[in-house]
Symmetry: C2
Subunit: 355 residues, 2 copies
């Protein structure tokens, strides 16, 4: 593997000194980019694309080519590859989001689910990782990722997206042993999946707990965080002579940062509802913090975006352990020039916060 030319993202995750605050954007390879829309145009369904390592590589690199300020690449894939590999039949309906052909509702449904064997069942993801890693040629590190067990379970039990999580919460409250059996299979699958991504070349990994914030305090601890902890404990933490940092991101999890830091993760992703200065005071001696500008700020003017960047840099303050990011994925209607203004503001303003 070629030498890493820009390691400020990995260093910041480990709270080591850097020359400026590193930055990447959740969903940076996506529909807001005209080059992405052009690539997708004749390329088949969304899942066909995810399963095509050359396409995944092409779109992963697009934002890096456009924005030299980016300090990391993230694997282009979907969070629902694991339930798909378990045999549920993932597909996408226009305007409806992800759907599954098979739905998991009973103890028998859960018993019938296999634990995913990544090299056999998700080989296309590993090929994408190694292809991207080769094509990156050491420019920036590559982030691997997975959905959290709870987040994956919500889609598997509801059959798709949900507003009230009617069926998955009924399962959780009425038959917690069935829910735990499902989450344990998912945690085993995710652990193997992330470890194989690391072996294939991912240099950091992020666990996306998109729906942990839909849980009560107690339910979050028992049904979401516990399984992320299990995953963190099972991950390869060093590879190719480097530490592999682990980032936990629970959207709506601002009240639970201390417990998240206790998992042994290296960094926590923050959504924009949390004050990053307050978060640093709470857990900054245990973990790095990634975030946390409201992605909707990118609908404002470049001058205003720059002010918001400064507010967050001031909020975190001087010193180590900050990776700049949006608090959630970049929205599809954002002007790419505004994303550029965001990234340039970080590159220009952040050196003053480092020695």
């Amino acid at each position: 593997m070629s030498e890493l030319k820009n390691d400020r993202f990995l260093k910041a995750l480990l709270r080591q000194p850097v020359d400026r605050t590193p930055v990447w954007m959740m969903r940076q390879a996506g529909r807001y980019l005209p080059e992405y829309r052009a690539s997708r145009k004749d390329a088949g369904s969304f899942m066909d694309l995810c399963m095509n390592p050359d396409f995944a590589c092409e779109v992963t690199l697009q934002p890096l080519d456009r924005y030299p300020e980016l300090d990391a690449a993230i694997l282009f894939s979907d969070i629902l590859t694991i339930p798909d590999a378990m045999g549920l039949g993932l597909y996408f309906e226009t305007g409806e989001g992800p759907r599954f052909k098979k739905i998991v509702r009973t103890a028998q449904d859960v018993a019938d689910l296999p634990v995913v064997n990544t090299p056999r069942d998700l080989d296309y993801v590993l090929k994408a990782v190694s292809t991207i890693r080769r094509e990156l040629n050491g420019r920036v590190p590559l982030i691997g990722f997975s959905g959290s067990p709870w987040t994956l379970a919500t889609y598997m039990v509801e059959g798709g997206s949900s507003k009230d999580f009617r069926f998955v919460k009924a399962m959780m409250y009425d038959t917690p042993e069935v829910m735990h059996a499902l989450l344990d299979k998912l945690a085993q699958s995710v652990t193997g999946y992330l470890n194989e991504q690391i072996k294939a070349g991912a240099q950091a990994v992020q666990i996306f707990d998109t729906w942990g914030g839909a849980l009560s305090h107690n339910a979050y601890m028992e049904f979401s965080l516990r399984y992320m902890q299990q995953i963190v404990s099972g991950l390869i933490r060093e590879h190719e002579g480097r530490k592999i940092p682990v980032i936990l991101f629970t959207k709506g999890g601002g009240q639970w940062l201390e417990a998240m830091a206790d998992t042994g993760a290296d960094a926590l992703g923050l959504d924009w509802s949390t004050d990053i200065g307050a978060a640093r005071r709470r857990v900054g001696d245990m973990v790095a913090l990634q975030g946390n500008m409201d992605p909707s700020v990118l609908y404002a003017s470049p001058a205003r975006i720059r002010e918001e960047v400064k507010t967050i840099l001031d909020g975190f303050g001087r010193g180590n352990g900050h990776v700049f990011n949006l608090g959630h994925g970049i929205h599809q209607f954002v002007d790419p020039e505004n994303a550029k203004a965001f990234l340039q503001a970080i590159a220009e303003l952040s050196p003053a916060y480092h020695d």
Copy 2:
């Protein structure tokens, strides 16, 4: 006005001793009740219903007739009556939620908006309040309500519901002076609206800040909480010889409870993501707490619902200042028998937490 026979809800909001924890449910007059669906069947559009004081009275009383455990009634109305009265033309598209014929996007749009004169523009709401109050005949107190200025503004600028708040956040970040002008008109309108509801017979009022949780910490303070504070400062706080308690509810506002308590509100509504014991330790010497069971627990079995009720009673602990509620509105697919199990569990279990 007839004497109030059950005042434990009002007492608990003022942190006075009660015999058991009072309870009501957000959206307790609603689609989960077969009698509500029957009443609505031939009654025209949703707005026609809201504008009909007799219908509003009929459906407000339905849950009280079914569930003698309920300790409060809440006015049946919509949170968007104020923007409708400002001339925006509220209507409901099936499956799409609320929409407006006129959308507010520019400084001129905001300048053109009137401040609502409630007796003239929203007389139908005041008639509903006085009708319900008369028909309640002192059984339980009546809660009046309004949406918060920020929450109303999101619908007015987006033209309806939104996922990313694209236009309203662009307005907020790019032209904060326009946003402030809009929010100030709304705060003046809401203050008058709630005061008129109080004069017509509402014995407590709640401000619903459904979308405050979509804001960053700083933006919440500047664009949502500030205007709720302005309203709280302008409310009639005593009427008919009784204190009129004010409840603030920001969904997703668990990180901001201290600042919410500083507004001078009597009580804070909690969604289910916040641990109610931790919330009491933070602000329980300043305000009462209302909440906070996950409404999706009502999809579980009666036995399980009872356990969750006990967990929340234990979480708050012994003593004054707790109103039991769901953390958000009751879902439409809940079995009314499960709502009954919820209410009975509170009536049966909660006396042990009071002297």
